[in-house]
């Protein structure tokens, strides 16, 4: 559009709001332009209040910032988008950092507990152990000790950070991949904690419960869809 856009503020607000719902910038700009073109066409057709002069739509709107119906419509749309943006921020605060925090706390507790186990009290068996015919079958790749354990622990940290990073990408496919990684990762931790809870429910059942909540929250986040009008 040549010249100053009298609806520039609304357009910016629209684009920001639509993008906050995970739409890429190009698509958000297209949605905003299509809706604003509709508003301008209605003003030009006299369906929305026009200004005192019969000049161009831009002139009318620029000269009449108090145009009631247009302003109300834009404000309603704007407030709706602002609410959605705030809600999304809270969802992010409540999900991603919470899951990350759980992960780091879990890793730390696991490591410390493992170190305490060296005295062979066998109170906290933190390896993945199956006892069959009196023989322990240990899966060392799933125990946080030694070289394998270190690699596993750091891989999980990198995985979680990578997933979170992807989640903050503007493009929705990346965000979906990041969220899927977090779902898988939280699910794995839930299953691991659940298994340990069979042996030490007092200690691991709450942890398994926390991860169950994390999985649930992430899955709910996964299924939250864009409003249809913003879908492309």
């Amino acid at each position: 559009m040549s010249g100053a856009d009298p609806l520039a503020d609304w357009r910016r607000e629209l684009i920001a709001g639509v993008r906050a719902r995970g739409v890429d910038r190009t698509s958000a700009e297209e949605i905003a332009d299509e809706l604003l073109d509709h508003v301008e066409a209605r003003v030009a057709a006299g369906e929305l209040p026009a200004g005192p002069s019969d000049g161009s739509v831009d002139e009318v709107l620029a000269g009449r910032p108090d145009l009631a119906e247009v302003a109300v419509a834009a404000e309603e749309l704007g407030s709706d988008l602002r609410r959605a943006r705030r809600a999304r921020r809270w969802r992010d605060v409540l999900t991603i950092p919470s899951v990350l925090l759980l992960a780091f706390v879990g890793l730390t507790v696991w490591h410390v507990s493992w170190a305490l186990r060296v005295d062979a009290t066998d109170r906290f068996i933190l390896r993945f152990v199956d006892r069959a015919n009196g023989i322990d079958s240990v899966m060392p790749w799933f125990a946080y000790r030694g070289t394998a354990g270190t690699i596993l622990a750091w891989s999980e940290i990198v995985f979680a950070i990578g997933a979170t990073g992807l989640f903050f990408f503007a493009r929705r496919p990346f965000r979906r991949i990041g969220l899927a990684m977090l779902v898988v990762w939280a699910l794995a931790w839930f299953l691991a904690a659940g298994r340990q809870a069979l042996r030490e429910p007092g200690f691991f059942a709450p942890i398994a419960g926390l991860y169950a909540v994390a999985v649930l929250v992430l899955l709910v986040r996964w299924w939250i869809r864009l409003p249809e009008w913003a879908e492309r």
Binding site: M1, S2, G3, D5, E30, I31, D33, E34, L35, L36, D37, H38, E40, A41, R42, A45, S56, V57, E228, W229, E231, R232
Partner: protein
């Protein structure tokens, strides 16, 4: 006389395809055409028009393109595709069958 909005929503795809089968058009013009052709009975709101258009586009029944205009905001036009024309014929047949059935029951057909 008020018309049940669910009836209009249910037939919106058919109406949009029919309008676009007559020629490419854009959001507001589609709304105005439907309003005029229906004698003011049908009035599409933005909140239902654009989702419906985007759904049809996603289903490849229509396609869109942008037109730059001097001194004015660019405008998005829609046009029907070959698949859309086939779908329109199918929906028209279905609609006529449906209305014939309803009219028959109501005794509107003599």
């Amino acid at each position: 006389m008020s018309i049940d909005s669910k009836l209009l929503t249910g037939s919106m795809g058919l109406l949009l395809l029919d309008v676009l089968a007559k020629g490419e058009s854009y959001g507001y013009a589609i709304t105005a055409h439907v309003r005029d052709a229906s004698g003011g009975r049908f009035e599409f709101k933005e909140g239902s028009l654009y989702p419906a258009l985007h759904r049809l586009e996603r289903d490849a029944l229509i396609e869109s393109f942008w037109v730059e205009r001097d001194g004015a905001r660019r405008r998005k036009y829609y046009r029907i595709t070959a698949a859309g024309e086939a779908e329109l014929k199918a929906r028209q047949r279905s609609w006529f069958e449906f209305t014939a059935g309803v009219n028959g029951v109501l005794g509107a057909e003599r």
